[in-house]
Symmetry: C2
Subunit: 396 residues, 2 copies
């Protein structure tokens, strides 16, 4: 269970080991507040978001979270993935308004001060683009950042949407709600009222501070467990109606063509899924011996109940240890010990959520859904460890 | 319970309200990855750490977390308070070593790769300087950032210290451990072995990414619930011994003079404490009506069990709602509804932890400890709301 690479300390006989004082102990360091809002170490400059390979449009675009460099369940705000349909608007918060209209007793407009005066709650939830790991239907991304990087997890703070809707007065005929963003795409999605009145939040803060611009500053919708694009950023309008609005983003996009020629529509919930982030594609093991297999599991339906890990392409499985806290609709970190013997191996993880749903193999997913789908790929991911320790993406 | 300031939406009769499209919807926004490691909105530029008023030394110095601007329990890494004794060293991670020596079977030196190969855990814990709110013994800070800003809370990832000590082999005579930093102060503290073998961590990551330079990059000690300075940053050496080392930081500093002329030493645990952050000093209420009182409670002895809030200087109390998750030795957010009638009021919060310990009044604390102490002030904080809505610090 323990590494063997620790060096024996070798004092020179004349000096205590404690006298081997490093250079940086011999001069005063950098002052406080340099800068006042702190930044990562320069030695970590490679830990950044990256674009999707091959895409050239930069405003109808996405950037990917470096999952291979994440520790714990919180994604730092600077590394939360982006998915924009018309770029990031620059909204002065004092000029932002949220309009609630349609099938309500009285249409209302709120400024940010109005909204922040309502009671708030904070909750930790993952956010995943429904296109996350879509490349894995047919091809193979080189790293987990490329394959699964449209995934992040934050502590969100906001106002329960139900409170604000009740303030406007909900007409009993209202069954759907149009949410519209103030971005150049005027991103719009239809949301079932059932979800709006359940755990939906009007979010103004993430991970302790006000929303980042690329996350919807100053206001976004958060629909825990729903596909990313329904969590409308720069939220400016909620219109209640008796039927869905059939916007572009739920007709020509964000639907799932099925083998029988039909298409699934309004596939909101992100089903249980997991991925190993260390070791993962592009990494190299330092040599045989103890390796801690680390990854994340999540489900849009609630808590993760169990994660299994295989080192032989799914022939045998061991149960991974789940890191507390295990929260609903939140990333859950898992770890499993492995003693690598130096032979080639294929690593997989398989999540089960509290509904009993088990993450399918890629093969089973394709058997059910065919190969014309783009969104909602949640198949088991395989990383092959070569005899030289190099890790690469395989379809096993 | 609800605000009254929402504006009635007023479409002009010729246009749907939805046609009142803001300027920023009419042009493409900023591209993705601008920058690759994201930054806060420029409209939030005032939300930064600040120095302790009146201090001029910038390397033996501290900066304060803007608690009045925090939401939820996670402090974003850029706002985590600083306390340095010789500035922030610039340590190339590949050159960093941790030495374990003294009363061990075999002294060992580890590089970062060695350490990161051990099994890790992630845990959310607060970190509080023992000098936090020390100004409140005799004077009154203007804002909660000034009074209580030596407090932050992160998700920390690291290796249980017990595993690394066991790898070196613990001599049964070892009762204490010297932890030394690689900074210019060579910051050193003696730690009881009991704590080292309990929940101590060798931490390399905070809030999902590698430690920030000012938080000990690439390695720090984390002693959950212990006073901040014992959580040695830039950790380079652990020496086991049969007695404490009586360093400067546990003799001339970080001790507590008592009324009888003695001094408390090794007062490691941060006792239960709480503070209201909204409304707090320097803020102004917008007018009578609903106000959500928000704050944090924490205890170095475990979980917070209960927080009470008073709006009449402690004459009557109501129980606040605790935000889940309530984790041991972690900030716990609390909220209490208040309908302000416009008359002057004094707001207080009082924490109780799972041991049954109740946060004392300032008066009771001074009766027990006198006025010669600097560290470990955990008295109840009072914010006075004036008839004009202005909030200020009072000793009530």
């Amino acid at each position: 269970m323990l590494p063997t690479a620790a060096h024996a300390a070798q004092p020179d006989g004349k000096h205590e080991a404690s006298d081997l004082v490093p250079l940086w102990t011999k001069a005063q360091g950098r002052p406080i507040l340099s800068p006042p809002y702190g930044q990562p170490s320069g030695y970590e400059a490679k830990v950044v978001r990256v674009p999707i390979p091959g895409r050239t449009n930069t405003t109808a675009a996405a950037s990917l979270t470096p999952l291979q460099n994440l520790y714990g369940i919180i994604t730092p705000n600077g590394l939360v993935f982006e998915r924009h349909h018309g770029g990031v608007p620059d909204i002065p918060p004092e000029q932002h308004r949220l309009l609630v209209h349609g099938l309500v007793d009285r249409p209302l407009a709120f400024d940010m001060n109005d909204l922040q005066r309502f009671p708030s709650v904070s909750r930790m939830h993952f956010l995943e683009c429904s296109g996350n790991s879509a490349g894995e239907w047919k091809a193979k991304g080189s790293t987990v950042q490329i394959t699964h990087g449209l995934l992040s997890c934050c502590e969100w703070t906001g106002i329960p949407l139900a409170i604000v809707l009740q303030e406007a007065g909900i007409d009993p005929r209202a069954k759907w709600l149009l949410a519209e963003g103030a971005d150049a795409a005027a991103m719009t999605r239809s949301i079932p009222m059932e979800k709006a009145l359940d755990d939906a939040l009007l979010v103004y803060a993430q991970n302790g501070e006000m929303l980042r611009p690329e996350q919807g500053y100053p206001l976004r919708l958060l629909l825990p467990g729903f596909e990313g694009n329904t969590n409308i950023k720069w939220l400016r309008r909620l219109k209640l109606a008796d039927s869905p609005f059939m916007t572009r983003e739920e007709t020509s996009k964000y639907t799932d063509p099925m083998p029988d020629g039909t298409a699934r529509q309004f596939t909101f919930v992100m089903e249980a899924k997991s991925v190993i982030v260390r070791p993962s594609g592009g990494q190299t093991l330092r040599g045989p011996g103890f390796v801690e297999i680390e990854g994340y599991a999540w489900s849009g339906r609630g808590r993760i109940r169990r994660v299994d890990v295989s080192v032989d392409a799914g022939r045998t499985w061991q149960e991974a240890k789940l890191q507390e806290p295990v929260l609903p609709k939140c990333l859950t970190a898992f770890r499993a010990p492995w003693r690598w013997d130096g032979a080639p191996a294929v690593l997989q993880s398989r999540a089960m959520d509290e509904t009993g749903y088990v993450q399918p193999t890629r093969e089973a997913l394709i058997a059910a859904r065919g190969l014309e789908s783009y969104y909602h790929f949640n198949g088991i991911q395989s990383w092959q460890v070569g005899g030289n320790g190099a890790v690469e993406n395989v379809h096993a």
